[in-house]
């Protein structure tokens, strides 16, 4: 086997989360129209303003031209009439589980198999988990302990019931209903996701995380997450994602909104490992995501870290609007694509306030026949005196049949600002592998070392507990059949 072939087979490590949980779902029609949206709202027992929010979004969505045509990706638009926009497992009580015993044992087992035990005793003590299965939040751990600190961590559906004022104030305030085609769709049919509220002067006592699982073949997942960090507060949040292997594509169209007030800091990390389709490019998740943070207060900070390894197509630009003076936005990204995967991902840093700073570190790794693009915008508004941006976009190619592209856009309307952009493209060199092998290291370990070295600046940004997981994930993605 040549080194290149070995490389490719390693990157194509077997997907270990592709099993399906056999579970009974409530009936719900497929397709989308006003009645369906009202029905979603009714089943979730939502107040009228939420129903109106959905319907307004739906009106906007209908008037839009369809999928955006500017990303560097090719696919067939999902058949929106064939998607089930709401799925709910049959439950005895009809209420969300209050204790572990109320959770369907099969779902509990699913999370155990995924390595996410929902029992607080079994979990890493520093992490609270919200588990989202298809359209619903199944269970949230450590709610009481967080409650003592005044932190609210629950599903968005619960937040609508229990904290309507907060949700009403912030929902759609960062990503407007009609922001883009998939954000509008999400706003119309959003299913579940997490809600986090950290009150003033509070450091959230534990890491918060949400684990998203798509199980149902026909269902789309329309994650909606909202995180609000009040003045002088701090929170670190992580999401993980997996799905079974199906021949058909499934849609995950998420909207995530972050709001940081004065001196607040939000750290948001993603380990995305959706099913990416088979070697021929059959199946896999369409990951069309709008994530945006708003540094509303002075000296606030929002930091996005993502490790994107899965999904057939990823279309995602976690962004920061730097409105408060002296606010900081960061984007650290590792995107790995293999086989027929396509990724068009990057960020937008919108500098509005004075002396705002942003940092972008993007590492793209492409193998197989995949296509990996970085797309980023740095925009400096006229009043953003002293704004600074530093961007690095590095691409690594494995083999001869993949593609890497960089599309940096810089718009500066303030002459006192400073924008630096560096980009590089390298190939995993056979000379590097030979060098390491000559030192006695096997071929797969050599590749693992090279790739980890390449991503190091990003991986070190992950919270400790998750860095291990990310490392393992890259390992799985990289070792596979040879390992």
């Amino acid at each position: 086997m040549s080194e290149t072939q070995a490389l490719e087979s390693m990157v194509g490590g077997e997907y270990k989360y592709g099993f399906t949980t056999d579970i009974e779902y409530e009936d719900f029609p497929t397709g989308i129209n006003e009645d369906i949206i009202r029905e979603i709202s009714r089943r979730k027992d939502e107040p009228e303003w939420v129903t109106d929010f959905r319907l307004e979004a739906f009106e906007k969505w209908k008037q839009m031209d369809g999928d955006p045509d500017w990303p560097n990706i090719e696919y067939k638009q999902p058949d929106f009439d064939n998607i089930q926009y709401y799925t709910s497992t049959k439950k005895k009580s009809g209420k969300k589980a209050e204790s572990l015993d109320d959770i369907d044992p099969q779902i509990r087992e699913t999370y155990e198999k995924l390595g996410i035990p929902l029992s607080e005793q079994k979990m890493l003590s520093g992490i609270a988990v919200d588990a989202v299965f298809d359209s619903e939040s199944i269970f949230t751990t450590f709610k009481e302990k967080l409650g003592e600190a005044g932190v609210i961590f629950c599903s968005i559906s619960e937040a609508i019931q229990d904290h309507p004022k907060l949700v009403k104030k912030y929902l759609g305030s960062v990503v407007p209903k009609g922001d883009n085609f998939y954000a509008a769709l999400n706003s119309a049919v959003f299913s579940d996701g997490s809600f986090v509220y950290v009150p003033k002067d509070t450091v959230c006592p534990m890491e918060l995380s949400t684990y998203f699982r798509i199980n149902n073949m026909q269902s789309g997942q329309f994650e909606r997450t909202l995180i609000i960090c009040e003045e002088n507060s701090h929170v670190s949040y992580l999401e993980g994602c997996t799905a079974p292997m199906f021949q058909e594509n499934q849609l995950h169209a998420a909207v995530v909104e972050l709001v940081a007030l004065e001196d607040a800091e939000i750290k948001y990390s993603t380990i995305q490992n959706w099913y990416s389709g088979d070697e021929e490019g059959q199946g896999g998740i369409f990951n069309f995501v709008t994530k945006r943070g708003h540094c509303r207060g002075d000296n606030s900070k929002i930091s996005w870290t993502q490790v994107e390894t899965g999904a057939a197509i990823t279309w995602k630009y976690p962004s920061v609007i730097l409105q408060g003076d002296g606010s900081i936005g960061e984007f650290f990204s590792v995107a790995v694509t293999n086989n027929h995967q396509q990724a068009d991902t990057g960020t937008k840093m919108i500098h509005v306030g004075k002396n705002t700073k942003s940092t972008i570190i993007s590492k793209g790794i492409s193998a197989g026949k995949s296509n990996n693009s970085y797309r980023g915008l740095v925009k400096i508004s006229p009043r953003a005196d002293g704004a600074q941006n530093y961007s690095v976009c590095d691409s690594m190619l494995i083999g001869q049949t993949c593609g890497a592209h960089t599309f940096p856009y810089i718009e500066s309307a303030n002459p006192t600002s400073k924008v630096e952009h560096e980009a590089s493209t390298s190939r995993v060199g056979e000379d590097q592998i030979f060098y390491l092998q000559q030192r006695g290291i096997s071929e797969d370990d050599a590749i693992s070392l090279i790739v980890n070295g390449f991503c190091k600046e990003v991986l070190k940004e992950l919270p400790m507990e998750f860095a291990v997981e990310a490392d393992k994930l890259l390992g799985i993605k990289l070792e596979g059949s040879v390992g």
Binding site: Q432, F434, I441, S442
Partner: protein, 258 residues
Amino acid sequence: MLEIKNLHVVVEEDGTEILKGVNLKINEGEIHAIMGPNGSGKSTLAKVVAGHDAYEVTEGDILFEGESILEMDPDERAHLGLFLAFQYPVEVPGVTNKTLLREAYNTIAEKRGREELDPLEFEDYVNDRLDIVEMKPEFLDRSINAGFSGGEKKRNEIFQMAVLDPKISFLDETDSGLDIDALKVVAKGINYLADEDNAVCLVTHYQRILDYIVPDHVHVMLDGKIVKSGDKDLAVKLEDEGYDWLTDLASVSVNGEQ
């Protein structure tokens, strides 16, 4: 220890023959020098011994302690105790020297039935060896060869050799690009490491390094063959008279083959 028999090698991509019947025998405790002008095939020989897959052996054999190693991957050859100091050491950004060396040391230790070292033990072991090439401990935490000067890269090769303690080392143009002070440090390190139980083979264009490392055997390589072998005086003669007096020898034998 190492025996190269009638070795013929072509470039895999285009079939160009580089080595045209090399014979060489290296025993424990010996220092050899292979000299020759650019393009004579001496660097190729070092890479082929290490198992570089850009080359294909079409005839002959390479025996290590009596066993053929032709079918082995480069890492398996390294496990036997074979080391190559690269002419152009490769940069691996983000991976520290220490990470590489500990992984390499422990992998080889396991294969050779030695005890593996935990991080603390390894720290001590490595620090002792830094002195051999006069390197500072900070060196260990830098990415492999990234941003190193030419001299640092070459010293790093000898440092790795000191840590991995190979049985036979091919040093490919280790002297090239070094100023006189760096050359002395590198030569001192090599002399320190060469002993009764191991062997060193210097591949070099110039006689200069042989002022500091005295070889037991000197071989001249021209057009893919070793055309002359001798002792250290041969190197001196080459320095004085160049390779011209040997080229006739090479063309005769090449023509003879045709």
